[in-house]
Subunit: 207 residues, 2 copies
Amino acid sequence: MFRPGISDSVKPKIIVAASGKGTNFKKIVEMINDGQLNVSLECLVVDRQCGALEIAKLFGIPSYVLSKPWYQNFEEIVDKIEPHLIVLAGFMKIIPENLVEKYFPRIINIHPSLLPAFPGKDAITQAYNYGVKVTGVTIHIVDKGIDTGPIIFQKSIDVDEAWSLEELEERIHRIEHEWYWKVIRDLLSIPFEIVGRKFRWLNEEGL
Amino acid sequence: MFRPGISDSVKPKIIVAASGKGTNFKKIVEMINDGQLNVSLECLVVDRQCGALEIAKLFGIPSYVLSKPWYQNFEEIVDKIEPHLIVLAGFMKIIPENLVEKYFPRIINIHPSLLPAFPGKDAITQAYNYGVKVTGVTIHIVDKGIDTGPIIFQKSIDVDEAWSLEELEERIHRIEHEWYWKVIRDLLSIPFEIVGRKFRWLNEEGL
């Protein structure tokens, strides 16, 4: 059983890691500022120059561009901050096995498909070209594999045959923005257990 | 563009192939008897003694237990009947490539997962053990691969973490029974096209 952030006195600390535009990061920041996500966003880490940095600057959030080797730098920052949760939000690096083990189950990721379908890069394009009639979003705990960890949350969407790839992308991103911060909130306030590869929420008594 | 069964004068003919209890077969028969599925169910074919045979007997539907080699027998029956649609409903044989080509896109299959996730046998158990939070049902046109053909229809279901495997199975089967006959009805009355591996319904004008 895990209770990563529960405490009456300490606000849970999180770190966000990104590599792209940072729209999921932005949504998390907005929900914190809005008072709906009660966490301390300690910093943004990125592995390259990207839009997420601009958002961090805009909102006055400390940010780090990881220097090479990035995973050593990543580990240093995490160990200094000791976050309750490490939130990957479009972070385009594979977390090394030793760090996955060290922080499990405190690293989570969001993936734009219903895993195990369409893991890896360009998941929305993969699903679109496959011709699926249903796809969705997965939020999972990071394990040693690529997009294989225990699934915390999935949300499906029916694909309209008339949609362009861009329309599907927009709708998938909308689901990501709607749900990622809520899952972060719940992970930091509701106990859960992971049995084998099955994630399950527990009630307040841990049952 | 395909219009497999459309005709003002002839009722479309279908064949159902099964290997198990025949619950999908039974639902199809019921919807025909109920006047909601306007097709001529020519016969049931099975590759083994199974519950579906009892259902055929009960409803007075001709049935054939395929003799070895089953695919030759299958081809003989199909070529004699010339069905507009061959409906696989829990048929546990892989249709040989030459027959897939010969009848494409007139063979359809129902699969108890959201393909391409969990192809092959025991899909519901696979999904359950993986710990998915969303799964579903796929109806697809049969191509040369195993559960890889163009997807006609998918329906998702949110998985309650408290469900047993048996509860999930029951709910998946309920979705199958609710939708398979409707897709059969639509395939025999609405034009469609398959571009690459993408299936798309067309309106009455074929646009």
